[in-house]
Symmetry: C2
Subunit: 230 residues, 2 copies
């Protein structure tokens, strides 16, 4: 049996926008591993219930289910050690965790203000009521109000990327001369935005954007060839 990855999709089955799934799709490409990606909607929870989980990514490798993006990345590193390392050896694995938490606590919440309504508008009709209800409970306001005033929020968002910008002005990737899993963690947030929203988050001349372009074209244009706006 080959590998399968349950991958969040919109109404169009090829529009794959989950930042967490992007982390894993890039990690699989880094390892040179093929996986069949299965478009999954929020209303498809029964499809992954056997893995005792309600969110994607879920990786199924030779019948074994692995859930949660950080756990999946570690699983791939440990199970496919003969292939290019995701963490770069040495202390790379523990040092990668802060990137994971920074993306979860700073980057992705920052991006969510710009893309939440666009996510809703791209969802399969079966998913819309669930998404609106669950997200509006979490954010405490309507999707429309949450996503308003995007232009006025942009400068502060770009400022929040300063540690990333200064790092990528000094070296081509977070991992150094070539990308590692921390690059894919952060890139996942930008792929979320690109795949679901025409709102351009980065200035063309920003070192963060130049790095994003390098990753878009990595692995034979893998990410760039997927549906996206910018």
């Amino acid at each position: 049996m080959g590998m399968k990855l349950y991958d969040l999709a919109g109404a169009e089955s090829e529009r794959r926008f989950s930042p967490f799934c992007w982390r894993i799709k890039m990690a699989l490409a880094h390892k040179g591993l093929q996986a069949e990606t299965i478009p999954w909607r929020f209303s498809d929870k029964p499809l992954i219930a056997q893995y005792k989980w309600e969110r994607v990514p879920v990786l199924v490798d030779d019948g074994r289910g692995v859930v949660d993006s950080w756990t999946i990345a570690n699983y791939l590193e440990d199970s496919y050690g003969g292939r290019p390392s995701l963490f770069g050896g040495g202390a790379g694995r523990p040092l990668a965790r802060f990137y994971n938490q920074w993306a979860d606590a700073v980057l992705q919440p920052g991006i969510s203000r710009f893309v939440m309504l666009d996510v809703y508008n791209h969802l399969d009709s079966r998913d819309r009521e669930y998404f609106r209800t669950s997200r509006e409970a979490r954010i405490g306001t309507s999707l429309e109000a949450y996503s308003a005033d995007r232009d006025s929020r942009l400068a502060a968002f770009r400022q929040s990327l300063e540690p990333l910008r200064q790092t990528l002005a000094a070296q081509p990737f977070l991992g150094g001369e070539s990308p590692l899993y921390p690059d894919y963690i952060v890139f996942g947030g930008f792929q979320w935005a690109r795949s679901i929203s025409s709102f351009v988050l980065l200035e063309a001349a920003d070192p963060v954007n130049a790095w994003r372009e390098r990753l878009l074209h990595r692995f034979d244009d893998f990410a760039h060839a997927t549906p996206g706006y910018w």
Copy 2:
């Protein structure tokens, strides 16, 4: 000739508060290297002019001057490779840079709102006018106004530490089971605060504080034994 480190001091020569110098003092301890630390004040620029630099830390190793904390850390790693690694091998060195930029762009600017006036109050009288003039030009207001309303700013500051908190809830150090240079980078900011201000930035039960305590007691209580408030 042994090693010398020019280390920022207050009116009391043992009150050493520079976050950048703390990064290097912990790095030296990690490597098991002894350096004579020379108390240095802002008005002592002529003492380091031969190294074509105006700030500390400046490390002088066998007559050779090395400036800038990131450069010094790399110098120590490369020159003393037989001693415990500061970056943990593999991709640890490029992965450490983001921590450096996060401390410079997020952590230390965040802490500065709480400690700037306390820094001024601890300075040698020769340094005060320079410090007030240069810092007030940079921050665009008086030291007193900049440092006001500390209590009301505390929740937002603590929230800004969330990536650090989540990481340190999952592993004892940023470097994993034992500390690496990224730990010392971030710890430097907290040592700046501890050495100069009685304002307590962290809740006792915060995983960030527990990690800080572990580092305070590292290397035979090295940091803990220096003058500080909390």
